[in-house]
């Protein structure tokens, strides 16, 4: 399931027009279809189709505001790609449990010191 989701992200990103739509949403969130279509040289139908693919990959999220649909960029899937191939080489992994244990023990020590 995770793999399928990742396939959809890469497919969605493999198109210049869709990447441009993401750039536009990065610059300004909450745009309507009309705003996103302006100055793109693409029909509204084409933009709708691209948005649907981006939504299917969870790269775009929308909500209603009155009669309008406002679109937003969801950066999480792109962040996950960066994390998978870049970040793990840069940062040491630490066990979350160990971190919790350290913190709770430090707190215990503080209490005892009071």
């Amino acid at each position: 399931m995770e793999g399928e989701r990742e396939d959809r992200v890469f497919k969605a990103l493999a198109d210049g027009s869709r990447r441009m739509l993401l750039d536009r949403l990065f610059a300004r969130g909450g745009q309507t279809l009309l705003e996103l279509t302006e100055g793109l040289g693409m029909s509204r139908q084409a933009v709708t189709k691209h948005l649907r693919i981006l939504e299917g990959a969870d790269l775009v999220w929308w909500r209603r505001s009155g009669r309008e649909k406002l679109h937003f960029l969801n950066p999480v899937p792109i962040d996950a790609i960066g994390r998978r191939w870049i970040e793990k080489f840069e940062r040491g992994r630490l066990d979350g449990l160990a971190e919790l244990k350290n913190r709770l023990e430090a707190e215990d020590d503080n209490d005892r010191a009071k």
Partner: protein, 151 residues
Amino acid sequence: MTTTERSEFVYVTYIRTTVERLWEALTNPEETVVYWYGMRSTPEQKAGGAWSLVSRDGQVMDSGEVLEFDAPNRLVLRWRNEWKEEYKAEGYTRCSMDLEPFGETVKLTVRHWMEGDGTQFIGAVSNGWPQILSNLKSWLETGEIILMRYK
């Protein structure tokens, strides 16, 4: 972060866990400390209750109010920065967290937006959310996190 005109951010992620387990991870300060830059998020368990985000050394970083506490599906916080004058001056933001079962996962949708017109604080917070959510996901799925400092 480049200058943008964004005062509302959305993050959608899927976590292999249950709604109840994720709710616990989001609302229990002893657990937020693990994946949220060492911060304790302390929502009172009711609408109208107090909320704060407290650093490891006890400093209140952000604070506000619990607007909705609908366990285990929806949490909404009113949220203001407490440590940086220009952020605090922008006033309150709102943050909603929605949890929905989705196949073998839970779909978590975090929305964070300004009540007013400012964009500085929300821009700063928006840098942090992907890391926090990524930590949360790996914490719940593998019991491990990649610890990161707030940039």
